[in-house]
Symmetry: C2
Subunit: 142 residues, 2 copies
């Protein structure tokens, strides 16, 4: 069975501040979210999770965009992950991703919709989370 390991390391600095590292990439300072008393200004674990799923959805979609030879001109999205206080503690309950994309030809609109649906299905990070990831797509022609 093919398998891969994605490695990171972490060093606690002080208070709720730390640095995430992974070989060959820039250091990534992280902190606790201000919502829960953390300092402001750095990426939080919660934002890393939401941004990770959001970017994985793009990259998985791009695989199908290439395969289906779609003339994708632009792609932007905004995402929001909702966390609630439950009896078990703080838990993510759902995530929403709104994609705005432009394609080169009218015929690519439906193709991009199909590519995004495949992206949703095969995205390893969407599949890795327990909460539902709702994806909306608005496509226009360039």
């Amino acid at each position: 069975m093919s398998q891969w390991v994605f490695n990171t390391s972490l060093e606690w600095k002080s208070g709720e501040e730390a640095v995430e590292r992974t070989a060959g990439r820039p250091d990534l300072p992280v902190c606790g979210p201000p919502e829960f008393g953390g300092p402001a200004g750095q990426w939080t674990p919660e934002h890393l999770l939401v941004g990770g799923v959001e970017s994985c959805l793009l990259l998985t979609t791009l695989y199908f965009v290439e395969k289906m030879k779609i003339d994708l001109r632009s792609y932007e999205s905004s995402a929001g992950g909702t966390m609630a206080r439950t009896a078990e503690g703080l838990r993510f309950t759902e995530m929403r991703v709104s994609i705005r994309a432009r394609v080169g030809a009218e015929g690519d609109v439906a193709n991009l919709e199909a590519a995004v649906r495949k992206g949703e299905k095969y995205c390893p990070l969407s599949a890795a989370v327990r909460f539902p990831v709702h994806v909306e797509l608005a496509v226009s022609t360039a």
Copy 2:
């Protein structure tokens, strides 16, 4: 019910490169992992997920460190998330986190072990993923 939304946005640049953003924090360039044909040099969604869980575990543990008045002197960890090719596509199967920590007093060793176990239990990101997160801890006194 108390709830919070963690927002991010993404802009596709070209190829397998994009930028993740969230208000008030530095831009975070991301790319597809070289393992799957992406370019090198930037954080990937896979690393963001692994680093997110790793840092969430620290931050949740710190909550209990403070509550239990543990004299924590240092905390570092390394993490690895394993991905396998399955019939459903690429899927994370498990993650390992190895923590090396130092405490100020002998009596804090057992307390830190208890704090890490509570951290594991209440960490919102560990709870958000479908795969098991195995945590090892080595504590020494300063």
